[in-house]
Assembly symmetry: C2
Homo-oligomer: 160 residues x 2
DNA sequence: GGCATCGTTTAGAATTGTTCTAAATCCTTG
DNA sequence: CAAGGATTTAGAACAATTCTAAACGATGCC
């Protein structure tokens, strides 16, 4: 049993476990993502899949991708095509995206943590910027500790 | 001199320093972003600005935002409206976005760093996922150290 | 001051990535 | 085999953003 067959088996298993059908389309989409590990876009995947299955439609590729993501077989990198947001806090800081409320909070990043983050890069990789986003829910204990009320940056524009 | 006037002065200074003109539109857009530090989208900014300048157009808001970003007065959060990318590496890892080539490389994250990252959140904030993206250029020394050749995850799908 | 020039704004069209829709097709099960 | 649901398909719809061309406005030069 070669690697491709193994992956197909794993795929089929996951799908049926979630009450979904293992279809050729899902198989092929999964396969092309595994074949070349280069973070392709939906369009690129569509092109590659089309090469061996010319009848497939873009919508199906999107469907398959969604299915694979929901089964935990692949991940999306640029999560959610949300509108770009703008932020007056110019200090290095992370964002906490509260998925329950949709709100975004600034989170301070200590200098030594930033150093550690840069240190994690292999030699030759020079990062001009770091984007760090947490996703989850914030609950609501201690509102005095969150954004705009005593934390997150020393306020480069003098607002508040 | 109040805070708004200060900010306008700072804005005017930055703009002229970059050979750009301080216009009312740029001023108002900047102002509404500072007023309410809540990471608004372009549409939201458009709505707020329209309240005090009903003739402004959406395109102008986009223009102004771009200008403010390029002057370093604000930052964009969801940088670049790029197509979503898909990734078969299911391990916790960061991405290095090489802006010269457009390529995305996986970068391993040691467990203790992840712990530190979670520790940075204020109490009550519960992060289900962390998204960490570096942007910069990779140069090309030591190709044997980068993605797909010995680093970045122990390969959950058995590819390569 | 008048005029050419260049930066800026505007409205609307165009583009891009993605999702929706409705019909066709495919499996599965009874 | 028929009924039912799941899946695929093509194309329309959508949302965020960018482009375009025309109008406008400020600035510099004589």
């Amino acid at each position: 049993m070669n690697s491709t067959e193994q992956n197909c088996a794993a795929l089929a298993e996951r799908l049926t476990a979630s009450g979904l059908r293992p279809t050729v389309q899902r198989e092929v989409v999964f396969k092309v993502i595994l074949e070349k590990r280069d973070h392709p876009t939906a369009d690129e995947i569509f092109a590659r899949v089309k090469a061996e299955m010319p009848t497939i439609s873009l919508a199906t590729v999107y469907n398959c991708l969604e299915t694979l993501v929901s089964c935990g077989l692949i991940r999306q990198v640029n999560l959610e095509r949300a509108p770009t947001r703008y932020c007056p806090n110019l200090h290095q800081h992370a964002h906490f995206h509260d998925e329950t409320t949709g709100q975004i909070h600034d989170v301070d990043l200590p200098a030594d943590l930033l150093t550690r983050l840069h240190a994690v890069l292999p030699p030759g990789f020079d990062a001009k910027s770091i984007e760090l986003t947490f996703r989850g829910s914030a609950g609501s204990p201690r509102p005095e500790l969150v954004e705009g009320r005593g934390r997150a940056g020393n306020n480069p524009h003098g607002t508040n």
